[in-house]
């Protein structure tokens, strides 16, 4: 598929503006150069992924001022160009007296410091690294301008808060060729340096950040085995005939593929197998083949057998409670790849190239789809936790009733009220949780922090411990109080998919409502707002005994008179207060 031309982007972007719904995702592009062409390109790029992006361009050469503005922006992009630190700096830099140059650098550093401090409360800041390449690329060696760029970058990197991501424009220059990036016809008149091709490539390059910020990064890598993790077919070539030894030419390719998978696993991506083979053969290779880098404990799920891959992948999605759009699948068979692409288009399916030396590169090209913005403790522990969940599902088959099973888990729910230290995780859950999410309010960390400071807000969160492990913070509810009217409203009620199906939502609700009762609250209002993904939560409030006030296909409004509430008092969930 050819990339759309700029004119096509303009028209399609207008169409998408009408059709893409959901909360707006606001991006402000601030800078000291003319970057207006990026607006529709960036909007189009995000809107084609279903994100209702709205891009605003800041005032020309107003970076410092703009860092105080755009208070409601979800992301800020900073185009801070070296050539405009001083009008005509690209020419005058080598001629400036040292004192003046140092003065200019000091002034710019002070501005960078201020801007980064102002922007530190923003959920995502993309800060383009300074580069002089536009003016120095033909020269073999560093010119003064390059040195200024390096100094400013080192300074900026030292001052960046944790929501800042630096964007290296040189990657884009390299990809396109710098001459294809530049158009200086309007440089002297209007400080415009980049061609439209550059802005398109820029939007592609930074898209993974925005997808991640909107919970759209891929979370699972599912691998076929034969000719995907090793060369050869275990069922035919046998244990000793398959090849993944890093010291042989073909083996080195597969050893590297396994290492790429392992590194993703280390970063919190869940790894699994989907292979048509005898399970025993595969277990033997993972258990004892000396050349394997991947081992059974690195995998959260295995579908090895003879059922078709489409149904296996669907099972994987269900068992992990993770949507198909979060899965990447790699297989060497054209047949399987075509079938999965056709029937499960939400899955990103990659085919092992026939030239196998290109295989690791193909995976590396797709690493951006796994990019996440946060590396919370929960992410790092995710693999361990999903493995526990797998064990739990196994256990489930052994118990006659769900209640027996749940009781056997020895669950302990720890409830935290208005705890500040978890606000990053709470915001992350608001951003990412799709399924058991009653209102799908995409609050940011700044919002959560603000709520913590408000006396009319109550934030409840929980973590769940059972005999197999600790889920970490996996549930959240945000309540608004009107103590004068003795009323409360459930603004947010959500639970991570990791703890679904264990009835903890009822224990959580019991606790929430009793806390409200002790604050003399009499009535609680709540609502369910339908999204394409939260069908499973549709009847939750009903099952808690809330009465439906109004109902449309997209929203149900509820009321509960607290004295009519019958707590579930689930005997098999111990509830404690956390500090």
């Amino acid at each position: 598929m050819n990339a759309p031309t700029y004119a096509e982007i303009l028209s399609r972007n207008r169409e998408l503006e009408q059709t893409v719904s959901g909360d707006p995702y606001r991006i402000a592009v601030v800078g000291n150069a003319t970057t207006n062409l990026i607006k529709e390109i960036l909007e189009y790029s995000l809107r084609s992924h279903g994100i209702a992006a709205e891009v605003q361009i800041g005032n020309y050469d107003n970076i410092v001022q703009d860092s105080y503005n755009f208070r409601n922006a979800n992301a800020i992009v900073v185009f801070w160009e070296l050539f405009n630190l001083l009008d005509g700096f690209q020419g005058s830099a080598p001629l400036l007296p040292t004192n003046d140059l140092e003065g200019l650098i000091a002034k710019t550093e002070a501005e960078i410091d201020l801007v980064l401090r102002n922007l530190s409360i923003r959920p995502l800041v993309l800060f383009n690294l300074f580069t002089a390449d536009i003016f120095t690329y033909a020269y073999p060696g560093d010119l003064l301008l390059d040195k200024v760029a390096s100094r400013l970058n080192a300074f900026a990197e030292g001052r960046a808060g944790r929501t800042v991501r630096f964007v290296d424009l040189r990657r884009i220059f390299m990809g396109l060729g710098i001459r294809n990036c530049l158009d200086l016809r309007q440089f002297y008149s209007s400080k415009s340096v980049y061609k439209v091709d550059f802005f398109r490539a820029y939007a592609d390059h930074v898209l993974p950040f925005f997808l991640a910020a909107n919970g759209r990064s891929r979370k699972v890598l599912i691998l076929d085995c034969d000719n995907t993790l090793w060369k050869g077919i275990i069922g035919e070539d046998g244990f000793d005939g398959i090849e993944m030894n890093p010291t042989t030419a073909d083996g080195a390719v597969f050893a590297e593929v396994q290492r790429i998978a392992l590194s993703l696993g280390k970063d919190g991506v869940l790894l699994g197998l989907c292979s048509k083979n005898n399970p025993g053969d595969i277990d033997e290779v993972f258990g004892s083949h000396p050349d394997m880098q991947l081992r059974a404990e690195d995998l959260v799920i295995k579908k090895v057998g003879w059922s078709n891959k489409v149904s296996s992948l669907k099972e994987i999605s269900q068992q992990l409670n993770i949507g198909l759009e979060s899965i990447v699948f790699v297989d060497d068979s054209q047949f399987e790849v075509e079938m999965v692409r056709q029937q499960l288009p939400e899955i990103l399916t990659l085919q092992v190239p026939t030239t196998i030396s290109a295989f690791p590169g193909l995976l590396r090209d797709h690493l951006p789809c796994f990019l996440t913005l946060e590396n919370t403790t929960e992410d790092r522990q995710k693999t361990a936790m999903y493995k526990q969940q797998e064990t739990r599902q196994h256990l489930r088959n052994e118990f006659s009733s769900l209640e027996d099973y749940l009781a056997s888990l020895e669950q302990r729910l720890t409830i935290f009220v208005n705890v500040d230290s978890t606000s990053a995780r709470l915001a992350q859950m608001c951003q990412k949780t799709n399924q058991f999410n009653l209102t799908t309010k995409r609050y940011l960390e700044a919002d959560v922090r603000r709520f913590l400071g408000q006396s009319d807000k109550l934030i409840f969160a929980f973590s769940l411990m059972d005999r197999l492990g600790d889920s970490g913070i996996t549930g959240l509810s945000i309540l608004s109080l009107d103590e004068a009217l003795c009323q409360a409203d459930i603004d947010v009620f959500l639970m991570s998919c990791r703890v679904i199906g264990r009835n903890v939502e009822y224990a959580f609700m019991d606790h929430l409502l009793s806390a409200l009762q002790s604050r003399q609250i009499k009535k609680v209002t709540a609502r369910y707002i339908a999204t394409p993904k939260n069908e499973m939560a549709r009847t939750f409030f009903d099952s808690c005994g809330f009465s439906v006030l109004t109902e449309t296909p997209s929203t149900k409004e509820y009321l509960l008179v607290l004295e009519c509430y019958h707590p579930r008092q689930l005997s098999y969930i111990e509830v404690v207060r956390g500090g």
Partner: protein
């Protein structure tokens, strides 16, 4: 060529294609400011595979002028 130009101008300025006519210029069309002028130049160059000179960029100020300059550049005879 006329239709293609009018389609591009419609995309750039966000107005119906039918409203682009011999009278359309930066003076008559409110949306035709200096920013959308850059967008227009960008879109026309890409769609027609041409590069305008600095002076041509300054001259592309109405639909008839766009048509004239592009006809000359692409060697398309005008009806």
């Amino acid at each position: 060529m006329e239709d293609k130009i009018r389609r591009i101008m419609s995309a750039v300025f966000g107005v119906p294609m039918e409203s682009i006519d011999g009278l359309t210029s930066h003076q008559t069309l409110e949306q035709w400011d200096s920013l959308s002028h850059m967008k227009l130049v960008t879109a026309l160059e890409e769609e027609f595979g041409v590069v305008f000179s600095d002076s041509e960029i300054l001259e592309l100020l109405s639909y008839p002028l766009v048509l004239l300059i592009l006809s000359e550049k692409t060697g398309t005879p005008r009806r």
